[in-house]
C-alpha cells in the first residue's frame, strides 16, 4: 500500500523556531541521559539515601499519569455513555493520554537503576506490591491506548479498511482501558499507603486511592478543556465551546464529591487538628494543604459554577489551569513535599550525609523538560499529519454493535 500523507491545510504549524527549541531541549536531555547511563544517577541528580524518589517521580510519573486521565474520561463519555456529540474531543485526548504514558515510560527508563530490566515486571510478580500493579496496568493501558488511537493513524495513511476494522472491535478495549485506568490512577495513591510513618497525616489515609481516582477524573475533564483551548489558539481552529461548557458543568460535581470525601476522612481519622496548625514545624504543610485545596478544588468549584465563565473561552481556560495547578500540587505534595524521610543523626557515612534535604538539580530537570518537549513535538506532528481534529463521517456509520 502506498503511503499517502496529506498535510491538513487548515492547520498552520509554525515550524521553525519552536521546533528547533524543542529539538534542542530533547538533545540536552539525551546527552544528560547518556551521562547518567555511564556514571550513574548520582552524576546528574540530587537523589539520595533520604530521597530515593524525587522530581522525576513527582513530575513524570505522578503528574504524567494524572494529566493522561483525559483519555479514559473521554473514552467513557463517548463510548460507554454514547454521548456522541463529544466525539470531536476524543482523539486529541486519547493522543495526549498515549503520549503522556509514553513519556512516563521514557522517564522511568532514566529513573530506574536497571532500565534494561524493566520487562522483569512481566515475569517476576510480587503480588503484594502496589508498584507491580501500576507497572502492569501502565504497560497494558499503553497498548490499549495505541489500539484506541490506531484508527486515526490508519485514516491518516488512508488505510480506511484497517481503521474500520479496529473501530468495529473497539468496545472491549475501551472497557478494558477504563478498568486499567481506574486501577492505576487510584494505585498511584496506594503507593504511599506503605509509608504511614513518613507521609504527613493530612495526606496519608487508607482511602488515598479513592481520592486519587476522584481527582484524576477532575484532572481529566480540566485537561480536555485545557487542550482544546490551547490547540484551538495555536492551530487557529474552531473551539468546541458548547461541548467544553458541558464538560465544565461536570467539574463542580466531581469536586464537591472530592471535597466531601476528603474532609469526611480527615474528620473520621481525627486529623482535623492539623488543618490550622501554624507551629514552626507544621506551618509549611498547612500552607501546602490549603494551597492545593483552594487551587485544586474550591476556586475551580466556584469558577466552573458560573455559566458566564463556562461560556467564555478565557474563563474556561483560566479555570482549567487553576484546577490543574492545584491538583498537580496535590501529586507533588503526596509524592514529595509532604513526605518526611529519615533524618540521619550526627554521625552519618558520606553516602548518606550529603543531603537530608532535596532540591532537584538542573540536569535532573533537563531530563523532564526534554521528555516534555518530545511530547509537545509529537502532539504537534500528529496534529499536522493526522486527522486529529476531524470527527469523520464514517464514525457514525461504524459505531459498534450496530
Amino acid at each position: 500500500m502506498k503511503m499517502q500523507i496529506s498535510v491538513n491545510p487548515r492547520l498552520r504549524f509554525h515550524l521553525s523556531p519552536l521546533v528547533w527549541i524543542l529539538l534542542g531541549l530533547m538533545g540536552i536531555a539525551f546527552v544528560v541521559a547518556m551521562i547518567r547511563y555511564i556514571y550513574g544517577i548520582g552524576a546528574i541528580s540530587n537523589l539520595s539515601y533520604s530521597y530515593p524518589w524525587g522530581f522525576w517521580i513527582s513530575f513524570d510519573l505522578f503528574t504524567g499519569v494524572a494529566i493522561g486521565s483525559g483519555a479514559f474520561v473521554m473514552a467513557s463519555i463517548v463510548y460507554i455513555f454514547e454521548l456522541k456529540e463529544f466525539q470531536p474531543l476524543l482523539r486529541p485526548s486519547v493522543l495526549t493520554g498515549f503520549l503522556g504514558y509514553v513519556m512516563v515510560v521514557i522517564a522511568l527508563l532514566v529513573d530506574l537503576g536497571h532500565p534494561e530490566r524493566i520487562w522483569y515486571m512481566m515475569i517476576h510478580w510480587n503480588h503484594t506490591s502496589v508498584l507491580l500493579e501500576i507497572g502492569i496496568c501502565v504497560m497494558s493501558y499503553l497498548t490499549v491506548l495505541a489500539i484506541e488511537f490506531a484508527p486515526v493513524v490508519f485514516e491518516g495513511l488512508k488505510w480506511q479498511k484497517f481503521a474500520h476494522t479496529v473501530h468495529k472491535y473497539i468496545m472491549p478495549f475501551v472497557i478494558l482501558g477504563v478498568v486499567l485506568s481506574t486501577l492505576h490512577q487510584s494505585s498511584l495513591g496506594s503507593l504511599l499507603l506503605i509509608q504511614p510513618a513518613k507521609l504527613y497525616p493530612l495526606w496519608w489515609t487508607p482511602i488515598l486511592p479513592v481520592l486519587f481516582f476522584i481527582s484524576a477524573v477532575s484532572i481529566g475533564l480540566a485537561m480536555i478543556i485545557f487542550e482544546a483551548s490551547v490547540s484551538s489558539r495555536y492551530f487557529h481552529r474552531g473551539l468546541e465551546l458548547h461541548l467544553l461548557e458541558k464538560l465544565g458543568r461536570a467539574i463542580p460535581v466531581v469536586l464537591v464529591i472530592y471535597l466531601i470525601v476528603r474532609f469526611t476522612e480527615l474528620t473520621v481519622s481525627n486529623d482535623l487538628q492539623y488543618l490550622f496548625n501554624v507551629d514552626k514545624d507544621h506551618v509549611l504543610m498547612t500552607i501546602l494543604f490549603w494551597a492545593e485545596i483552594l487551587l485544586g478544588s474550591i476556586i475551580p468549584l466556584i469558577l466552573f459554577s458560573f455559566r458566564r465563565i463556562r461560556q467564555s473561552p478565557n474563563g474556561l481556560l483560566i479555570s482549567a489551569i487553576i484546577l490543574l495547578v492545584g491538583m498537580i500540587l496535590d501529586r507533588f505534595d503526596v509524592s514529595w513535599f509532604a513526605v518526611r524521610h529519615p533524618d540521619p543523626l550526627s554521625y552519618i557515612p558520606s553516602l548518606m550525609a550529603f543531603n537530608a534535604h532535596y532540591i532537584p538539580s538542573l540536569p535532573e530537570l533537563s531530563i523532564s523538560v526534554g521528555i516534555f518537549s518530545f511530547g509537545i513535538l509529537a502532539f504537534g506532528l500528529a496534529a499536522r499529519y493526522l486527522p486529529l481534529f476531524d470527527a469523520e463521517d464514517h464514525h457514525k456509520s461504524s459505531t459498534p454493535a450496530d
Binding site: G113, R117, T128, I194, P344, S346
Partner: protein, 264 residues
C-alpha cells in the same frame, strides 16, 4: 505477637547503655562483607550531649537492617527481590532488582540504600545488612557482634534475647526506658534495642505493632475482585445505554412515521 515469640530464629540485641561509640562494628562489617567504608551497611549515630548540667548524658545507636518479621521492603518490591529466611535474615537478590528504589521508600527505618554513582556497566544495586549468612551458617556470630568490645551488640535466639532484655529492664529499672524496641514495633523485628534515652532521640521511628505494609496489602488484595466487578459494571452500563438509545431511536422513528402518515 505470641506467634512471633514461637518462631525460632536469630536476633540482635543492642544495648545503648553499653555502646561506647567506638565504631569497630563498622570496620568489621566493611572487612567481612568487602564493602568500602563510605558505603557501609552499618552506621553508628551519636545523639550528642543530652540533659542539663550536671545531669549530662550521651548516647549512640548502631543502625543496620532491623530484619523485620514482616518486612515492608519485601512487600513493596515489585519483582520480589527480597526474601525473609526462616532463621531471621532479610535478604536481597540483586539479580532481579530493577532499581526502582520503592523498598527505600517503604522501609520505615530507611535502611536500604542505593549505588547512585554506578552506571549501567558497573550496575547500580540496593545494599543493606544481610545478618552475615555466610557466618551464621557456620555457627559464627555476625561480624559486627563478634567484634563489639563491650557486648553492646549481642546475637542469639530471639526468645533467649527477649528474656535477657526483660531481665536487664527488671534488674535496672532506673537505668533503662522500660521498653524493648523491636519486640512489637512494626510487627516485631529481629533487632531488639534497649536504651536509656527515649527511642525517638536515637532516630527510631514511632511505630505501632502492626507492620506498615498491612494497609497497602489489604488494598492490593481488593484489586482483582474490584477489577472484575468494575469491568462487569461498565459492560452493563455500555449495553444498557446502547439498548436505551436504540429503543429511543426506534420510538422516535415510529413517531415520525406515524406523524408523516397522519399528515398524509
Amino acid at each position: 505477637m505470641t506467634e512471633i515469640q514461637n518462631i525460632k530464629h536469630k536476633t540482635f540485641l543492642f544495648d545503648a547503655t553499653r555502646c561506647i561509640d567506638c565504631r569497630s562494628c563498622m570496620i568489621a562489617c566493611s572487612v567481612e562483607n568487602k564493602i568500602p567504608m563510605d558505603k557501609t551497611r552499618i552506621w553508628v549515630a551519636g545523639v550528642g550531649l543530652i540533659g542539663e548540667y550536671p545531669k549530662l548524658d550521651r548516647a549512640s545507636m548502631v543502625y543496620h537492617c532491623m530484619h523485620c518479621e514482616e518486612p515492608d521492603c519485601l512487600s513493596a518490591c515489585p519483582v520480589g527481590a527480597y526474601s525473609k529466611r526462616e532463621d531471621g535474615p532479610v535478604l536481597y537478590n540483586k539479580d532481579v532488582c530493577i532499581g526502582c528504589r520503592y523498598c527505600m521508600n517503604a522501609c520505615p527505618f530507611g535502611v536500604p540504600h542505593f549505588d547512585y554513582d554506578k552506571g549501567l556497566i558497573d550496575g547500580a544495586f540496593i545494599d543493606k545488612c544481610t545478618m552475615c549468612p555466610q557466618r551464621i551458617d557456620n555457627g559464627l556470630e555476625p561480624a559486627c557482634v563478634a567484634t563489639c568490645p563491650t557486648d553492646a551488640l549481642m546475637f542469639g535466639e530471639r526468645n533467649d534475647l527477649l528474656k535477657e532484655a526483660h531481665a536487664r529492664l527488671a534488674a535496672h529499672p532506673d537505668r533503662y526506658i522500660n521498653h524493648v524496641y523491636g519486640e512489637t514495633e512494626n510487627g516485631g523485628t529481629s533487632y531488639l534495642i534497649l536504651s536509656h534515652v527515649p527511642f525517638d532521640q536515637l532516630g527510631l521511628p514511632n511505630l505501632g505493632s502492626t507492620p506498615v505494609r498491612d494497609v497497602s496489602e489489604a488494598v492490593m488484595g481488593l484489586t482483582i475482585p474490584f477489577a472484575l466487578t468494575w469491568g462487569a459494571v461498565l459492560t452493563g452500563i455500555t449495553v444498557g445505554v446502547h439498548q436505551f438509545n436504540k429503543r429511543k431511536e426506534q420510538i422516535a422513528e415510529e413517531k415520525a412515521k406515524e406523524e408523516s402518515e397522519a399528515a398524509k
